[in-house]
């Protein structure tokens, strides 16, 4: 533990110069003796310690490992860019996993946001019982992170599972969804879409911020329901939509638990649910190619960084921040 000298901590707090101008204020702060920063460091130390030991160090180690061949048992062997070169030039499963992840992101994120927004809109126009339904719709998001719900999901969509049974009573015989390459990805995406609670709650908060007078002005201007949604709700909600989009996109790129469970940890059938992180896990912990797995992780980080940057750049043309008044 990082303990400061006692005299530094008990020094009396200086009165804030309230009457001084802001410039003068910041000037006095700059000239203030360094030792007054002591208490701040003490309070920050638990977080700094955690960030350094649990996040920064592993990241740097993994960056190093990505240039090595390492099987956990023998010392890492420096191989330069070999891992990266192999990944991009001669590993079809890598590209398959990247493609699967891209499809998944493109399907699951827009659909999840659409469902979240639709439910938020319905809840927002509701009078009584809003609180109950809000909680009810949020619940899957709390459960969703767990393995158990993914297992239930697998059981539901398996051959002879509930969904299959129900459909066969209508004469539709699919023979299970999770064991068909064409459908398995969709089942995993559906599990994510179903967990729309978090974006929904944020949308709902956003909807409640839209000034009522804007809707009335639009109504007087002659805008119908659809027009009011397009010309008032969506633009006013765009900052919230953007926030949800960035967050969900970053999460979707890292999808793991549902795919791992639904596909039984192998990304099957026929690699159809072999997501990026699943393949990464497979390379690292099944095949013991830790160096290769580290290289994959770094590529994913860069890709997510680029995608996020592109989203931020695009936001300039479609996100509208309103100020007061």
């Amino acid at each position: 533990m990082n303990v400061e000298a006692p005299d530094q901590q008990v020094s009396p707090p200086r009165e804030r110069p309230g009457s001084e101008s802001a410039a003068a204020d910041s000037a006095t702060q700059r000239n203030r003796p360094r030792r007054r920063e002591g208490p701040a460091w003490v309070f920050l130390s638990p977080w700094l310690l955690g960030a350094a030991v649990l996040t920064l160090t592993p990241m740097l180690v993994s960056l190093y490992l990505s240039f090595t061949q390492y099987d956990l048992f023998t010392a890492p062997e420096w191989v330069g860019l070999d891992n990266y070169v192999h990944m991009f030039t001669s590993d079809p499963r890598y590209w398959r996993s990247a493609l699967n992840t891209l499809i998944y992101v493109l399907v699951a994120v827009p659909l999840q946001l659409a469902v979240a927004l639709a439910v938020a809109l319905a809840l927002n126009s509701m009078g009584r019982g809003k609180g109950f339904y809000r909680s009810a719709f949020y619940a899957p998001s709390l459960l969703g992170a767990s393995m158990s719900i993914a297992l239930v999901w697998r059981a539901l969509f398996n051959d002879g599972g509930t969904v299959d049974d129900m459909l066969s009573t209508f004469g539709i015989d699919m023979g299970g969804w999770v064991n068909q390459p064409g459908w398995a990805l969709l089942v995993v995406a559906l599990l994510t879409i179903w967990q729309f609670g978090a974006p929904m709650v944020i949308f709902l908060a956003g909807l409640q911020q839209v000034p009522h007078e804007l809707y009335e002005a639009a109504e007087v201007d002659g805008a119908g329901r659809v027009r009011r949604f397009l010309s008032v709700t969506l633009p006013m909600l765009s900052p919230v939509l953007f926030f949800n989009l960035v967050l969900q996109t970053i999460q979707a790129f890292q999808v793991f638990t549902p795919a791992f469970t639904v596909s039984g940890g192998r990304g099957g059938p026929a690699d159809s649910t072999l997501f990026y992180t699943l393949y990464l896990y497979d390379r690292g912990f099944t095949a013991s190619h830790m160096g290769y797995a580290s290289a994959m992780a770094w590529v994913l980080l860069v890709v997510i960084g680029i995608v996020t940057a592109l989203l931020f750049r695009s936001s300039r043309s479609w996100v509208f921040y309103n100020d007061k008044g």
């Binding site: 007078e213 002005a217 639009a218 109504e219 007087v220 010309s231 633009p235 309103n322 008044g325």
Partner: protein, 362 residues
């Protein structure tokens, strides 16, 4: 151009105890008239306006614009334009887009929209801001955009809901005059809601005073000031407010402190021999006199507000301790604690109201 008629229109908010927010409003606004709805908060003035806009249901009675019964029509079919207190500008649209939005929805050709927006912008001095977003504008400019959005529609009625209340005092006075001038020029029937009686008096051809959802009086500003229909209107119109005191009634007149205010015979008869009467005297109807003057009222000065040209003397009567405000010459203000003597300028300027109902008696 159209006249607007409320036929016993009412808005009732249901609940544990239903509230008649607007109670049997009967009011006609003539074609081209500027009518101001004024009243304290909760008086139902905004609700009455919103009923005309179609944003509030009409539970009883009906509302007509021109010869059309609009009672159950949606807002967009009523041919009205509204200016909101918050302006309600679309933050993601430019000034030009904001102003042209309603026209665009009516599928008016782009060329025409552009021209009408340009004309309105010219009229409101907004031409150089047409490509800006609302958040890059000052409060006064936003207010003008809100006006412009209403003007380009060329509606048969303008509705304005406290459009100046978000402006600072100086700009409010300036904009007040501009709106009034603009309305005279366009000649469009306008209904304007405000809680500010100065705005009401300076802008409206006629002013309708509401209290608790009930129309108290609708008249020209001068008539409202000179002949308020009841004690509420008397106290609401005029700044500072009229001195209103309920005093004993004697055979000679109304007893205020030790002074008897003469009451015309006609008024005396209509008071019906009650024992009390509410007397209203405007601060500007009182005059300072020397202490020898017979029948003058002695006042202890408690506060003097100097306005420059005038000063307002807040005092208490020497005997009964009734509060009175006197408007006097600003050049010779009395000191705190002084005793001054006042008389009513002209007995004609004494307003009399029934002590029970508050209605004017003469």
């Amino acid at each position: 151009m159209s006249r607007v008629t409320y036929h016993d229109a009412a808005r009732v908010f249901t609940g544990n105890s239903p509230v008649r927010a607007v109670d049997n409003l009967r009011l006609t606004v003539d074609d081209g008239e500027f009518l101001v709805l004024v009243g304290p908060s909760g008086s139902g003035k905004s609700t009455a306006l919103r009923m005309l806009a179609g944003l509030e249901e009409i539970d009883e009675g009906s509302v007509h614009i021109g010869d059309t019964d609009v009672t159950s029509m949606p807002p967009k079919s009523r041919d009205i334009a509204m200016v909101f207190q918050s302006y309600a500008l679309y933050p993601h649209m430019t000034v030009a887009e904001n102003m042209g939005f309603a026209l665009k929805l009516r599928r008016i050709p782009k060329q025409d929209v552009r021209q009408r927006v340009a004309e309105a912008a010219e009229l409101l001095d907004l031409t150089e801001y047409l490509d800006r977003k609302p958040r890059a504008l000052s409060g006064g400019q936003r207010q003008r955009v809100a006006m412009g959005r209403a003007i380009v529609r060329e509606p048969s009625v303008f509705l304005m809901d406290e459009p100046l209340s978000n402006l600072d005092a100086k700009l409010r006075v300036e904009t007040r005059a501009n709106i009034a001038a603009l309305q005279r020029r366009l000649g469009t029937t306008t209904i304007y809601v405000t809680h500010d009686q100065t705005e009401a008096m300076t802008m409206g051809h006629r002013v309708a005073v509401l209290a608790d959802g009930v129309l108290q009086q609708c008249d020209t500003p001068r008539e409202l000031y000179e002949r308020p229909a009841n004690a509420f209107v008397a106290g609401f119109i005029g700044s500072p407010a009229m001195n209103l005191e309920t005093v004993p009634l004697t055979a000679e007149g109304a007893r205020l402190d030790e002074v008897t205010l003469p009451i015309p015979r006609g008024a005396m008869d209509s008071l019906g021999g009650g024992s009390e009467v509410t007397v209203g005297i405007r601060p500007e109807s009182l005059r300072l006199v020397s202490d020898e003057q017979p029948d003058s009222l002695a006042l202890h000065v408690e506060l003097v507000e100097e306005l420059g040209a005038d000063c307002l003397i807040h005092g208490r009567t020497a005997v009964d301790g009734k509060r009175l405000i006197v408007r006097a010459d600003g050049r010779r203000p009395p000191a705190l604690g002084d005793t001054v003597h006042v008389v009513v300028r002209d007995p004609e300027e004494i307003h009399l109201f029934d002590a029970g109902s508050g209605n004017r008696t003469a």
